[in-house]
């Protein structure tokens, strides 16, 4: 067979002392990197097949396995690095587009890690979260600039004169971002739906449609209308609590999506309303949105279809012109603008695009918030920031920069077992998440996963309350857009200007 270039990414190390040939690793590895040699009564492994997903390592009952990056190095070269060379080898082998899952893992500056939070000392006291209620409740949707009142009855009691636009009520400003049924397993979306319901927030069906059996979670579901229009029908739109038009995704701005046919099972074909086994391709642009007024038309159509009872969200990838785009989206009638930063994840995207297209969410968010405020239309839509939110500190910083709430997806997947092996597109996810294989989907137990997800949200919410209390704030409203409580380290002046925050050390 033609010699394959040096493409072995991982090395499986088996401690013979500890290995008891119980074959758990062989049974658990969908990539078949472990084999039991019956007559030698020995476990063997094939490094080349290993995806580094650590499934065998974590399930081996005697912890006999270690999987590490293949130490076998290339000739050291700071420019022609190992990744670069392996990319060329693969493409020379296959002539195909390199694919990867998850978000870019390249070394780009993380602004979250360069933003510091304020705290109260002496002059303004902290508020003790154990004594005072800390309020994270958030309403996403269009707000009027001014409240319209009328007086009622003898006592001239003030009452609301005008009905407000529909809102999404979140008990904590964290939602699960779009991951379609098809990219991830039915058990995983069930877990997301349950956790969203339990934590008083929302999950997003993504462009995979909304399986009927999960309609019971509709009060906590946001459904997507993407360029493929998969699974979109009036029942679908009216069941959910909000409809999100997907224009772009942080990991692959500007391009469409492709769910391979073999992953399209009967239930997926039913949910997406496409023939079983056929490739589900969502085209790059919405073929009925070629300019901003077409978006306005689609938003209007969706509002009509849902009798103006559901907020309409528009999700864009964070790209250079995000501020102007966001302004256009708000003026087109969107109630929520979702911005997905370039660190956002994906089931499958060309590696080059995932690693090089899009801008950091922090900068996009800051510029969008500032632009909408300048144009005096910030109240007409809520901003949801997503793509690379890793912990509750990121959430607080995002809200302080101006977001109403955040979308998390990668963090959610990691919470339910994902080990970021970036091989989602193979459909062989050993953790039972990004797969439709009958043997693998069982590995994610929605009872456990939903509990882990609600634990994550509960933990983050408690941490947010602690941080708020530390700043002397007891309601999320006072954090939103309050950039004075942020300071920058290790940033250029331009970056600080874009983020609208002062350098650390500079007082009020």
């Amino acid at each position: 067979m033609r010699h394959k270039q040096n493409l072995v990414e991982f090395k499986i190390i088996r401690d013979r002392e500890r290995c008891i040939q119980c074959e758990v690793c062989a049974r658990q590895c969908a990539f078949e990197a472990h084999i039991f040699d019956a007559d030698a009564r020995e476990m063997e492994s094939v490094d080349a097949l290993c995806a580094g997903c650590q499934r065998c390592v974590s399930l081996c009952p005697t912890r006999a396995l270690t999987v590490i990056k293949n130490p076998q190095e290339f000739r050291p070269d700071s420019y022609w690095t190992k990744n670069v060379l392996q990319g060329i080898y693969k493409q020379a082998d296959t002539g195909g587009v390199l694919l990867s899952g998850m978000g870019t893992d390249k070394i780009y500056k993380s602004y979250w890690d360069r933003i510091l939070l304020d705290a109260s000392q002496v002059t303004n006291p902290s508020i003790d979260p154990l004594r005072e209620p800390m309020e994270l409740r958030t309403y996403l949707g269009a707000k009027p600039e001014k409240i319209e009142l009328r007086s009622v009855g003898k006592t001239r009691k003030p009452r609301l004169a005008v009905k407000l636009a529909p809102q999404l009520r979140l008990e904590t400003p964290i939602m699960f971002s779009a991951m379609s049924y098809g990219a991830i397993s039915y058990n995983t979306i069930t877990a997301l739906a349950r956790a969203a319901a339990k934590s008083g927030t929302f999950w997003n069906t993504g462009e995979g449609g909304f399986p009927k059996a999960l309609y019971e979670y509709a009060p906590h579901t946001i459904v997507q209308v993407a360029s493929g229009r998969f699974g979109v029908h009036s029942g679908y739109l009216n069941a959910a609590s909000a409809v999100e038009i997907k224009i772009g995704q942080g990991a692959k701005p500007g391009i469409g999506g492709h769910l391979p046919g073999e992953k399209v099972s009967r239930l997926i074909s039913e949910t997406r309303m496409i023939p079983e086994g056929s490739d589900a391709i969502s085209p790059a642009p919405h073929h009925d949105i070629y300019s901003i007024e077409d978006l306005a038309q689609l938003i209007g159509a969706l509002k009509e279809a849902t009798r103006y009872e559901k907020p309409i969200s528009v999700k864009i990838a964070a790209v250079h012109n995000a501020a102007a785009i966001a302004s256009g989206i708000v003026r087109a009638g969107a109630d929520i603008v979702a911005i997905d930063g370039f660190r956002g994840g994906t089931g499958a995207a060309p590696t080059r695009i995932r690693d090089n297209v899009g801008i950091p969410i922090e900068l996009a968010l800051a510029s969008v918030d500032e632009r909408l405020r300048k144009e005096g239309i910030r109240h007409r839509a809520s901003i949801v920031a997503g793509g690379g939110i890793r912990n509750s500190a990121d959430v607080v910083k995002a809200i302080a920069l101006g977001a109403d709430a955040v979308y998390i997806a990668t963090s959610a997947l990691v919470a339910v077992g994902c080990h970021m092996c970036q091989k989602c597109y193979t459909g062989k996810c050993n953790w039972g998440i990004a797969t439709q294989n009958d043997y693998l989907v069982k590995r994610l137990n929605p009872d456990i996963a939903s509990e882990r997800l609600s634990n994550l949200l509960k933990a983050w919410s408690r941490e947010i309350k602690e941080m708020l209390g530390g700043m002397g704030i007891d309601a999320i409203e006072s954090l939103r857009g309050n950039r004075l409580r942020l300071r920058a380290v290790d940033m250029t002046d331009t970056e600080m200007t874009i983020l609208g925050i002062k350098p650390a050390g500079e007082s009020l």
Binding site: T123, P125, L160, L164, D474, E477
Partner: protein, 374 residues
């Protein structure tokens, strides 16, 4: 923690500045001598219809430049230095002048009643002067009212401004312990804008977002202080959005969701809408304030009452102060109801309708007295 005190004569009879000075000096140890001040309503009975600007100037040149601007924008009926008494303990006071101004007939470019258009005009001018960077700062800009403040202890300021020579129907006063901003004449309380004056004791942690919200409506916060922001929030809600004071108070210090959720449906919708729409007006952190306006005075605490506030009434007077001792010290009549308002519960005192006026009299601020209060 600053000292704040407000006294109002419910029958709208004017009383001497000595009383408020005595009250404030009673709260002397609440300040560090870097700022105190007084606001008096009804102190210029001879020019009731003129807008009276008290302006600090850092230099003669700044004064002349600002006066050119005033001459262009107003009909100046009178301009004079504010009568002060030079004192050794009051170091390097700025030039302080007052101007009585009439607004020339304004082409009805903007909507709203004549009075609202006038206020809009004043608002624009004050913002312009304060943000011009010419070294001029409009300390107060109301009708038949004025603010006397600066760097110094309460008694020093009272003496420096010869407060005893003034008689007002309502006074508010503030003794400052500056924390965030450096002691500077303009930075002392009360803060004034048109009919409103505010004395505030507290530190609001939501200043960042309150400021950005106000700035998006054209407000310019020269002094970067919480109090200035709160004053402008009140101006914005009551003047531009024409909200009744009680509703504005809810917008600034809303109840918790767990309380709102238990309200009857209509009220619940209202409060939820208020928190949604005016999220950026919510003031967070410890705060106690007294807001003066043409027809009365209001006291308000933050939404979890992290600062004390006391209100009391006697036969013809009403008092609001951060401490009971201040009220007891100045009360001439027997104090009836002494109470501590709850978190976010506004205490509003308005002048009683005077007996000899049969038909209701329209006050300068458009509100009516004597008739049924609309």
């Amino acid at each position: 923690m600053c000292g704040i005190i407000g006294i109002i004569n419910l029958d709208r009879r004017r009383f001497s500045g000595e009383l408020i000075a005595k009250g404030l000096s009673h709260l002397k140890d609440r300040g560090n001598g870097l700022g105190s001040g007084y606001a008096g309503y009804g102190i210029y009975p001879d020019n009731p219809d003129d807008w009276c600007f008290h302006i600090f100037f850092t230099s003669e040149d700044a004064r002349l430049k600002t006066e050119q601007r005033l001459d262009a924008a107003f009909k100046v009926t009178k301009k004079e230095p504010l009568p002060v008494k030079p004192m050794t303990s009051v170091k390097r006071p700025p030039l302080i002048w007052r101007y009585f101004l009439k607004i020339p007939a304004i082409r009805p470019t903007s909507t709203g009643s004549a009075e609202e258009r006038e206020k809009k005009y004043i608002f624009a001018l004050v913002m312009e002067i304060n943000s011009s960077g010419e070294g001029a700062f409009v300390a107060s800009s109301g009708k038949n009212m004025g603010i006397f403040k600066g760097v110094g202890f309460p008694d020093e300021m009272a003496e420096f401004y010869r407060l005893d020579e003034y008689r007002a129907t309502a006074w508010t006063a503030h003794n400052r312990f500056p924390t965030n901003t450096p002691g500077w004449w303009g930075g002392a309380h009360p803060f004034g804008l048109a009919e409103l004056s505010l004395v505030h004791n507290g530190e609001i942690s939501s200043f960042g977002i309150n400021k950005r919200y106000l700035e998006s409506f054209g407000y310019h916060l020269a002094l970067q202080t919480d109090s200035e922001a709160i004053l402008y929030l009140f101006d914005f809600l009551t003047r531009i959005h024409r909200l009744p004071l009680e509703i504005a108070a809810v917008a600034l210090t809303p109840p918790h969701w767990e309380i709102i959720d238990c309200l009857p449906p209509d009220e619940k919708k209202l409060y939820t809408a208020l928190r949604m729409i005016y999220a950026s007006c919510l003031i967070n952190g410890p705060s106690a304030l007294v807001l003066g306006f043409d027809s009365g005075m209001m006291g308000l605490n933050d939404r979890i009452k992290l600062r004390p506030l006391v209100a009391a009434e006697s036969k013809s007077f009403a008092y609001i102060s951060s401490e009971e001792s201040g009220i007891v010290a100045v009360a001439r009549e027997k104090l009836k109801k002494i109470r501590h308002p709850a978190a976010g519960e506004p205490v509003i005192f308005k002048y009683r309708p005077t007996k000899n006026q049969i038909k209701p009299v329209t006050n300068r601020d458009g509100s009516k007295t004597g008739g049924h209060q609309s």
